[in-house]
């Protein structure tokens, strides 16, 4: 270790092993929360996106309304409604759901999942709708039924068109998860806020956490670039 870093660490009162552990726990919470909401949100979104492209307006209408409502209002309000609202549902405090939703983690997970699912539904829907007609005709000519067409032709082809927009949504979700700290979850931002109020050192507390988020963001960007390269292998120039 270079001397100046060692010296800086020795003189430092803020970045002790204790606070680093707090940041680490915060990072684990953030990653846990974001990862779970993204995975559940993606599964829900694939289903809803298929329903959204169904011709019957009684099927696609409610899905449209859901995405419209969740994309038209701030995530913070959705979080508040779910976090404060769940306790007010009559009778919930006697059921086992209360054991789960009493912890702030689960209302936040629910709000984030519903939010990301709404955005992702629209992304996937856009990709499904723009499937070239020839691909579907070819699949029909091969005698594939609807289910097989979806699974073998439409969804894989849509995934290629959706991956770029989806990577933006993932990064957006990581950044949006910072608001979990307002409902008393100690995520990365929550840890930074605690450390700020203990030492009254805004620059140390928040710049460090900004760097943590930046590192996470760049890891995601890198991973998605790899994934895009993999999915769009067939479009690479031959002489490359």
């Amino acid at each position: 270790m270079p001397d100046f870093i060692a010296e800086w660490l020795n003189q430092n009162e803020i970045f002790t092993a204790m606070t680093i552990m707090e940041y680490w726990d915060g990072m684990v919470t953030t990653v846990h929360l974001v990862f779970l909401s993204l995975v559940i949100g993606l599964l829900v979104a694939v289903l809803l996106a298929i329903l959204r492209t169904v011709r019957n307006p009684f099927v696609s209408g409610p899905v449209w309304l859901y995405t419209y409502l969740f994309r038209g209002t701030p995530l913070l309000i959705q979080l508040y409604i779910i976090y404060y609202g769940i306790a007010q549902i009559p009778g919930i405090q006697e059921t086992f759901w209360w054991e789960i939703f009493r912890e702030p983690f689960y209302p936040a997970l629910l709000a984030f999942t519903l939010n990301t699912a709404a955005y992702t539904t629209e992304i996937i829907r856009g990709a499904i709708v723009s499937t070239p007609n020839g691909e579907i005709e070819a699949a029909k000519a091969y005698g594939m039924n609807w289910f097989m067409r979806m699974r073998r032709i439409v969804l894989p082809s849509a995934a290629r068109r959706a991956v770029q927009a989806y990577s933006n949504e993932v990064i957006f979700m990581l950044h949006a998860s910072a608001i979990a700290s307002v409902v008393t979850i100690v995520d990365l931002t929550g840890a930074a806020r605690n450390i700020y109020s203990r030492f009254y050192a805004p620059f140390d507390a928040f710049i460090f956490v900004a760097l943590c988020y930046m590192a996470l963001t760049f890891i995601l960007v890198f991973a998605f670039r790899k994934l895009e390269n993999h999915l769009l292998k067939h479009q690479r120039p031959v002489s490359g």
Binding site: T73, P74, Y80, L174, F206
Partner: protein
């Protein structure tokens, strides 16, 4: 009718604060976006480097963290500056960093980065022949920018600009976290005091929905106007 338990006027005022905040941040972000895009497209390596660092930094950090940094850090910086000025010149200089200004600055800075990317793409979409023609007419660079680039670029920038505006509008809700009495803050206090979360948050959500839906229509109308002279391929 909806009974807001006497919080109606406060919510109304909060809504006006939200709208003011949104428009001021939009103005700042458009200005920063134009500067950023010009810097990114300029010949100067330094300008390009600064603009690229700016957009990369902003896109890596959550808006809330940025806001907390500016709000709490801004106050500490002002305190330090005022101490320094007092010691050096014996001038009493101080101001309280209020949440509204921090909100406008943060949101403006964040969306300035997104606007930079939008405007950069839009400037690139203007045909090169147009600039060459302007040069041939003897336009100065500033003149070319104002008379040729800016009006033609707006058509290409509009969809991105509209998107950014929609996201910006929703981001304004975050300023309630650093203590601005906007409608989200009022609703939160009312919901806690009256123990009626749905009763106060759903109307606020509806106001946001009305704002985003209204802007969507307005942007569509603008887009139609801006593309009046363009033949759309079928």
């Amino acid at each position: 009718m909806l009974d807001l338990k006497g919080y109606g006027p406060a919510l109304m005022e909060g809504a006006i604060v939200t709208i003011e905040l949104a428009f001021l941040s939009l103005a700042l972000s458009v200005a920063l976006g134009l500067i950023g895009a010009s810097a990114k497209l300029s010949q100067s390596r330094v300008a390009k480097g600064i603009a690229t660092t700016y957009t990369t930094l902003i896109r890596g950090v959550p808006d809330l963290v940025m806001m907390l940094l500016f709000y709490y850090g801004g106050q500490v910086a002002v305190n330090m500056l005022s101490d320094y000025i007092w010691e050096a010149y014996e001038i009493d200089f101080f101001f309280q960093f209020d949440p509204f200004i921090s909100g406008v600055v943060t949101i403006g800075l964040i969306f300035g980065a997104y606007m930079t990317e939008t405007f950069r793409g839009a400037f690139l979409a203007v045909e090169k022949g147009q600039i060459e023609a302007a040069r041939a007419y003897g336009f100065t660079r500033l003149h070319t920018f104002r008379r040729i680039m800016l009006p033609q670029m707006l058509r290409h920038a509009l969809p991105g600009l509209g998107n950014n505006w929609q996201v910006l509008l929703k981001t304004t809700a975050l300023v309630s976290i650093i203590g601005l009495t906007d409608m989200v803050r009022v609703a939160e206090e009312a919901a806690k005091a009256e123990r009626m979360p749905f009763h106060f948050f759903i109307p606020v959500a509806a106001v946001y929905l009305a704002l985003t839906a209204g802007s969507e229509l307005f942007i569509k109308w603008l887009d139609k106007r801006a593309n009046v002279g363009v033949v759309q391929g079928s």
